[in-house]
């Protein structure tokens, strides 16, 4: 048993940490969030140069052959800086799908430009009626000769406005919520029949509603075959969950440190408010929630490569923990900062908002409790 990081992993952490603290201070982050595009392409290019975009990919594709732990380390550090650039959709979700399930031709066609920072991808898997059920798919893929024709609407596609390519889940056969008959398709966002409505999200990101109207894609745009889409999607989402758990522990650590520091320095009634036992215990609870979250984040990242049943249970459990802890830590950090915690100009509220969205992203506590119980 070993919970320590290798020397390479520690070097990776140090590198990301110093890059973020040097180049992604809170003011810079807010300028990026408020900019027209909402992300910084220069930062993305620097991620490529640092090798962050290559981390999880195989060496033959030009990657660094990293595993879930490397992704975890990177996401935690990006979380500390509230980085909005699309590491999750491009590298973890879509890159992960291509890496694990893409054909050789697909990998060779797409991974180099992802690793090089030239292409941004987004995973279009939510639907307006689907809530958190990945199989609840109305979007249809109809076989027509050698092509598929896609029709439907995908909801809250994170990173959608920046994406060049989308991976879209669509129903090839079966009933609306059937597990079988789901395909994943690579769709060029500029393809004829694709339209988007772009918008900012509460946590400083950007997302799109994507409408597909008779979008024709070649059969080789499908990942694997006409029946494996859901399994691949579930696996990708579990990888996404493991990644945002890591991001969330980055947020919680920052909030806990900021709260302790604030309570040490903020004086009321002639003493630091941190001297009040009721607030001390609250901060102890925040600290314990953080530690439990770290444990569950390590756990899920170690189990990501196990079989589907073990992976499902691990991801569902971790997501429940992070959802509850993130909510508690976020709310209490705001409360203990008093009015200051409510202001747009302090980073506390922004960590809180991102943690709130992490609870919803890929399914909330209720959803994953049920999934955990059933797994």
């Amino acid at each position: 048993m070993d919970f320590s990081f290798t020397e390479e992993q520690t070097l990776l952490r140090n590198m990301v940490q110093s890059f973020v603290s040097d180049n992604y201070e809170f003011d810079t982050r807010m300028k990026i969030v408020r900019s027209e595009e909402g992300m910084d392409r220069g930062i993305w290019q620097q991620f490529a140069e640092l090798g962050l975009l290559a981390a999880p990919f195989s060496e033959e594709m030009g990657g660094l052959d990293g595993g879930p732990v490397e992704t975890m380390v990177i996401m935690e550090e990006l979380g500390r800086g509230l980085v909005v650039e699309p590491y999750l959709p491009t590298i973890v979700l879509c890159g992960g799908i291509l890496n694990r399930h893409g054909s050789d031709a697909q990998k060779q066609a797409y991974l180099p430009s992802i690793i090089g920072g030239e292409a941004i991808w987004a995973l279009a898997f939510n639907e307006p009626q689907g809530r958190f059920n990945l199989a609840d798919i109305v979007t249809s893929a109809r076989a027509e000769g050698d092509d598929y024709v896609l029709n439907g609407t995908k909801a809250v596609v994170l990173g959608g406005p920046w994406a060049d390519k989308l991976i879209v889940s669509a129903r090839i056969s079966g009933d609306q919520r059937a597990r079988e008959g789901v395909g994943l398709f690579i769709v060029d966002k500029s393809a004829s029949g694709v339209s988007t409505q772009d918008y900012p999200t509460v946590d400083g990101g950007r997302a799109s509603e994507v409408t597909l109207e008779n979008v024709s894609v070649a059969a080789d745009a499908m990942i694997r075959d006409a029946n494996s889409g859901l399994g691949i999607l579930e696996e990708a989402v579990d990888h996404g969950i493991a990644a945002i758990c890591a991001e969330a522990i980055g947020h919680m650590k920052m909030l806990n440190d900021a709260t302790v520091e604030y309570c040490r320095t903020r004086k009321q009634f002639g003493v630091p408010i941190g001297s009040f036992q009721v607030l001390q215990h609250r901060m102890v609870d925040m600290f314990m929630e953080y530690e439990q979250s770290v444990s569950m984040t390590y756990m899920v990242n170690m189990k990501l490569t196990e079989d589907a049943a073990a992976r499902t249970k691990a991801a569902a459990g971790a997501k429940v923990q992070i959802g509850k802890s993130g909510r508690f830590v976020g709310q209490e950090a705001v409360q203990l900062h008093g009015g200051m915690g409510m202001t747009e100009e302090l980073n506390v509220g922004h960590f809180f908002k991102r943690l709130t969205m992490i609870d919803t992203q890929f399914g909330n506590v209720d959803h994953h409790l049920k999934r955990f119980a059933a797994a």
Partner: protein, 395 residues
């Protein structure tokens, strides 16, 4: 002991309901509060004024009503049921009672009518950067020079000061060992030279609160309420009144109705979310807690009607009321699922702005974020617990 409504009460409810339905400005219905101009926020206030219903809890001689506790309860319930914009609390709930309790005749004559008519918008100059929960630490200074006070200082979290004509303000007139001594209660015209209002944008993107800077602001000495240096008593009296309205039971009921409506429209595996056992259980738990709070508030109101002022027990109403409000907004956000994510900008809404997702999901996240303030303002919930521990339990 009973909580039945008399035939008179039932008739009164009918009267209130039809008055609201017939007179509520139709254009206000479609607006979120954050979109409202000063005129919008005052529109219903002005209609209520014509009917004499702006300040039901004031004594009749000052322009209030002679309603029973039950009637006031019915009025609040009907107002919340319809979703009216309530009169701003700063004048009606906070300052009015201070003036008719501590003010002199001249002050009663000029302050109270302006509150009732809506001519004067008041804001509350209490908190300062160094004086939040510890209000007595306030440093804003007023020095008497001839027949004027010269005020210097810095107020913060001043709600809707951007609309205010006047501010009631706690200032330090004497420095003494006991910090509660030497505080005075001043009425300040916001148009006076030396006052600067700076907006504070909150995490929901809204502009409700402000900083107010006072630099050599000259205030006529006759604007002092009560005695100089004895303002702490007034300050505490006002805080007690502020808390009494804070439970928000009727509005929480309405918010739960809306939550249920949203959960009926949201689908989970093809079925309404409302039919999910987990989700409906959470709503039920909220409703049970709200019912308990409602009866606690009714007991407080009944005691008040027998001449007992709002005591430290009103801290229960503040704590439980705000906790319930926060849980409702949290569950409402949870109900809309993925559509909690779109950010609806409250400032600088452009012409090309298009709403995302189903109508019912709009703004629920912002409301959740905004409502986090309720356990902080009006004396944080930690302070309220201190009050109960000290004043009720004698610890």
């Amino acid at each position: 002991m009973d909580v039945d409504f008399t035939p008179e009460d039932v008739a009164f409810r009918e009267e209130v309901r039809s008055f609201i339905e017939e007179n509520y400005p139709k254009n206000l219905g479609a607006l979120e509060r954050s979109d409202m101009s000063k005129e919008d926020l005052l529109a219903w206030h002005k209609v209520l004024h014509t009917r004499g219903w702006v300040a039901p809890s004031w004594p009749v001689e000052f322009g209030g009503t002679d309603w029973t506790v039950t009637q006031r309860y019915i009025f609040n319930e009907e107002s919340a049921r319809y979703g009216t914009v309530p009169p701003m609390p700063f004048g009606v709930q906070m300052l009015g009672p201070v003036i008719y309790t501590f003010g002199n005749q001249e002050q009663k004559d000029w302050v109270l009518p302006g509150i009732l008519s809506g001519k004067d918008w008041w804001c509350q100059g209490y908190s300062e950067p160094g004086a939040g929960s510890d209000l007595a630490a306030l440093k804003t200074k007023a020095v008497l020079e001839g027949d004027e006070y010269v005020v210097n200082g810095h107020k913060i979290w001043t709600t809707l000061a951007q609309h205010a004509d006047w501010m009631f303000c706690l200032v330090r007139t004497t420095t003494s060992d006991k910090r509660q001594d030497g505080i005075s209660f001043l009425l300040i015209d916001m148009k006076t030279p030396g006052i600067t209002v700076r907006p504070i944008i909150t995490i929901d993107g809204g502009h409700e609160v402000n900083e107010v800077f006072l630099e050599d602001v000259r205030v006529p000495a006759k604007n002092l309420v009560g005695e100089q240096d004895k303002g702490w008593t007034i300050a505490k009296f006002l805080l007690g009144n502020e808390r009494s309205g804070i439970a928000g039971v009727a509005r929480s009921k309405k918010a739960i109705d809306r939550l249920r409506e949203i959960a009926r429209g949201e689908l989970e595996n093809g079925d309404p979310l409302l039919s999910s056992a987990d989700f409906s259980r959470k709503i039920a738990e909220l409703e049970v807690d709200l019912t308990a709070l409602e009866y606690t508030e009714l007991r407080t109101l009944a005691a008040e009607s027998q001449g007992q002022g709002p005591g430290p027990e009103s801290s229960i109403l503040k704590i439980k009321g705000t906790e319930i409000q926060q849980r409702i907004t949290e569950l409402t956000m949870e109900a809309v699922g993925n559509y909690a994510a779109p950010w609806v900008p409250q400032l600088d809404v452009g012409d090309n702005y298009l709403a995302i997702g189903p109508d019912q999901s709009h703004g629920v996240s912002q409301t959740y974020f905004n409502t986090r303030k309720t356990s902080i303002y009006g004396g944080s919930n930690e302070i309220q617990r201190n009050i109960i521990a000290k004043m009720v339990l004698g610890l």
